[in-house]
């Protein structure tokens, strides 16, 4: 097991290097002069020239990359060009919001997705099955920003139950904070809910058709015992991976959700950074998210290896 983890950790290094390189090159390839975009159309050419020099944009690209890499290796992500503040501190300021949002969305997805997937599999080919499948498909296909708008219009404008935008104020009590997260979590969670429900359903169906389940039935075991003891445990193993993979979707979706609901999270920070050519901020943030993503995947894989001995053993033989 330890060997397996070590191996996986070693794979992280080249991945991160390529992430840094790719993001750096993409930011360089975006047309338009960062200094000009940052200073706006009314800036004088003297201002732009001086600013380019300050940023080191007049140096060759390779040199710029080496300088950036050196800084990153010392743990310095540099300063944001629009906020004039350390990138890492900006990220850490906003991280709690995005994590809370993503976890709430994931919670909703798991709590709704898994039971409905199981239900659909058990009532295979019934009306319930059809209902769940159709709903899941809608959940996967619905655009987040549209769904978010609909939620706002229905629940805050028409019914007035929940606040439309922004963060809650802790001084107004816990409910104020929670209520601000309800709508965005649903908007963000719907895609994962659909994905998890469908996946649980198919995984469960697959298990239910296995020989050992048939054997269990033949042995005369009670249906419930078979379902919950034997089938469910095995069916949920692949679902765990899917839940882990949802993180990517959630982070991507958070960008849209945070924009619609005006939540100050990582996604919004990134969008603002891209549009304003704050390449220091974008590079730093992508790197940060990549590290997060890699480690979440690592944790998922390790968990998977713990649950599923096959994987561990295949590594041992290598």
């Amino acid at each position: 097991m330890g060997k397996y983890v070590a191996k996986r950790l070693l794979q992280v290094i080249p991945t991160l290097f390529f992430v840094i390189l790719t993001v750096f090159l993409i930011m360089k390839m975006i047309p338009g002069d960062p200094a000009m975009v940052l200073l706006g159309p009314q800036a004088r050419s003297e201002d732009i020239a001086r600013f380019r020099q300050q940023l080191g944009l007049d140096k060759p690209v390779l040199i710029q990359f080496v300088i950036y890499l050196k800084r990153v290796l010392t743990g310095d992500l540099g300063n944001s060009l629009i906020y004039r503040q350390n990138v890492l501190s900006l990220i850490l300021e906003r991280l709690p919001t995005t994590i809370t949002l993503s976890l709430c969305a994931l919670l909703i997805a798991v709590v709704i997705g898994i039971p409905s997937g199981i239900l659909a599999a058990m009532k295979h080919n019934s009306f319930v099955d059809l209902f769940v499948t159709v709903l899941a498909l809608i959940g996967i296909s619905i655009p987040i920003f549209w769904f978010g708008m609909v939620l706002i219009i229905v629940f805050s404008l028409q019914l007035g139950w929940l606040p439309a935008v922004g963060l809650g104020n802790p001084t107004k009590g816990l409910w104020d904070v929670i209520s601000h997260f309800i709508l965005p979590s649903f908007a963000l969670g719907i895609l994962s809910t659909g994905t998890i429900a469908r996946f649980t359903r198919s995984s469960m169906l697959e298990v239910l058709n296995q020989d050992y389940i048939r054997t269990a039935y033949a042995k005369g075991l009670k249906r419930n015992l078979i379902l919950y003891r034997h089938a469910l445990k095995n069916a949920l193993i692949p679902v765990i991976t899917v839940i882990g993979l949802q993180l990517g979707n959630l982070l991507a979706g958070a960008v849209l959700t945070e924009t619609v609901f005006a939540l100050p999270g990582l996604g919004k920070l990134m969008v603002d950074g891209i549009f304003r050519r704050d390449y220091m901020l974008v590079q730093g943030e992508v790197l940060f998210i990549a590290i997060m993503y890699i480690f979440v995947n690592l944790i998922v894989d390790i968990t998977y290896a713990l649950i599923n001995p096959k994987i561990r053993h295949s590594y041992r033989s290598v």
């Binding site: 975006i30 338009g32 002069d33 706006g40 201002d47 603002d272």
Partner: protein, 512 residues
């Protein structure tokens, strides 16, 4: 009868009590733009400038309607006849807010010198670039010498980039000053959660008139439709903008309203005079003759949040010419066809590419123009580019035509000079490469006089010449549209899009 009089009197008294200004007013402003800094030397965006006005003050300031410049930290000023030396007498008894590095000491001429030198040395966009040196004559007198005569200097001094800041705090906090802003203004910043909200509280030691507002909260909501929802549901009291399509929703509500004022902005199509078919004046005239600008604006803004434009000087500027239509090249499709025939395009279309950024209104406009001009014999391709690529292409002068948007101070210099003076070729403002010595002459005359009536005349003359050259097809001036809850009293929208809750002649309060 007497009873009725009494009842009437009581009702009148009661409504008066309700409607009296009160000093515990609390307001929430919703804005679609996010401030990025609270350091006057570092800002690059309107959103930051707007919130900084609460904390910082400048020597002079515009009123809410940006029509007149009023004394603020300076009581009076004199200018030498060559417009190069400006001497300001400062107001006495103005104190900075208490901070970590000073306890609310008096502001003096030394602070003006320090603030201006700081702006010149560290600002990425030096707003007072024409300043050569600042001299302290005595505790309350400061002399500013410019590199060259510059008539709109006072306008530049109203910019928050020219705010007066205390040296101890700037040096003490260094780059953290943005998180601990201290100025002489009527409000102090008490909370700032980036991308989310900001809270300001009244500065009880303020030197001037006491604001009715005890507390101002800004909420940042990037989506304008959601912003309007927040206004309608009472989450915010004032919003920075209402989309044209949301106007009916606001009008249908009984407790909020849309307040509009002519803006300091212009949206236009700049035709190149250095490349492509538009170098031929007949083609340019056909372009004008082929577009019905009123129809164009009606289609894009059916609820009237923009007005058709006939010249570059916006309705929100004091130099706006009410007779601007008299030298405008009117819509006349038959004449357009005729002109194209004369220019040798009888059996082939004029091929032209219009570049536009991702602004939905400008994109729509380009497509409408494409279809209007198709009828008279143009074949237009619309190239929509992301902002960085768009400004890159257009400022190099590489576009046949592009949709330009321009928003700035109400002084005509910031429209006419920046878009039409030959020295501005190779910038986004004059990406059409326009060069007319006579226009240059009038602009330079406008820069060298401080008499507003005279200056108005010069810039209007320049505008007339520009419109006769037909290189710049104005489309619309966007109105500034604020959503306002009816509880809010004494608020007027500003043409420069800033939400001013406290300014010369403005002191907003909120009914309980």
């Amino acid at each position: 009868m007497k009873k009725w009089v009494l009842v009437f009197f009581l009702v009148a008294l009661f409504s008066f009590v309700l409607a009296a200004p009160n000093y515990d007013s609390v307001i929430t402003v919703g804005s679609d733009q996010n401030p990025t800094t609270m350091d006057p030397a570092m800002y690059q965006d309107l959103a930051s400038a707007q919130v900084m006005r609460n904390v910082f003050e400048t020597l002079v300031a515009y009123d809410a309607e940006v029509k007149e410049i009023h004394p603020l930290l300076a009581e009076s000023w004199e200018v030498s006849s060559d417009l190069k030396e400006w001497t300001f007498k400062l107001r006495k008894g103005v104190h900075f807010q208490k901070g970590k590095f000073q306890d609310g000491r008096e502001m003096t001429a030394e602070d003006v010198k320090y603030s201006f030198e700081r702006e010149i040395s560290i600002s990425p966009m030096v707003r007072i670039y024409m300043v050569d040196r600042v001299e302290v004559l005595d505790r309350y007198t400061v002399k500013i010498t410019l590199k060259y005569p510059y008539a709109p200097f006072l306008t530049v001094l109203t910019d928050i980039g020219a705010a007066i800041v205390p040296k101890e705090e700037c040096e003490g906090w260094k780059d953290q000053f943005t998180l601990h802003p201290v100025g002489t203004g009527p409000f102090r910043m008490v909370e700032w959660v980036k991308d989310s909200h900001m809270v300001f509280e009244r500065n009880e030691d303020y030197w001037g008139e006491k604001p009715y507002l005890k507390q101002i909260t800004y909420k940042f909501i990037p989506d304008k439709s959601v912003l309007t929802v927040a206004l309608l549901s009472g989450q915010v009291d004032i919003t920075s903008d209402i989309l044209d399509q949301d106007i009916p929703k606001v009008n249908a509500s009984s407790n909020v309203e849309a307040r509009m004022v002519g803006g300091c902005n212009v949206y236009a199509v700049y035709l190149s005079s250095i490349k492509g078919p538009t170098t031929d004046k007949r083609i340019r005239e056909a372009f004008f003759r082929g577009i019905d600008v009123e129809q164009l604006v009606k289609v894009i803004f059916p609820n009237g949040t923009a007005e058709a434009a006939y010249g570059p000087i916006p309705t929100g500027s004091w130099a706006y010419n009410p007779n601007v239509k008299s030298f405008y090249t009117k819509y006349d499709p038959e004449k357009a066809k005729q002109l194209l025939k004369e220019a040798g395009y009888e059996n082939k279309p004029v091929k032209l590419t219009i570049y536009t950024p991702e602004d939905p209104n400008r994109r729509k406009a380009a497509v409408i123009i494409q279809s209007m001009l198709k009828k008279v014999g143009f074949e237009i391709e619309v190239q929509s580019l992301e902002w960085g690529a768009f400004t890159g292409t257009t400022s190099k002068g590489d576009a046949d035509a592009y949709t330009i948007g321009w928003t700035w101070y109400p002084d005509p210099e910031f429209f006419i000079f920046y878009m039409f003076h030959s020295s501005r070729k190779g910038t986004y403002g004059n990406g059409g490469g326009y060069n007319n010595p006579e226009v240059d002459k009038y602009i330079e005359l406008g820069e060298s006089s401080v008499d507003q009536a005279k200056r108005t005349e010069y810039y209007r003359k320049a505008e007339e010449l520009i419109m006769k050259d037909m290189v710049y097809f104005p489309m619309w001036h966007k109105l500034v549209v604020n959503g306002v809850n009816k509880k809010v009293q004494g608020y007027k929208p500003s043409p420069d899009m800033m939400i001013r809750l406290f300014a010369p002649g403005t002191n907003v309060w909120v009914e309980k």
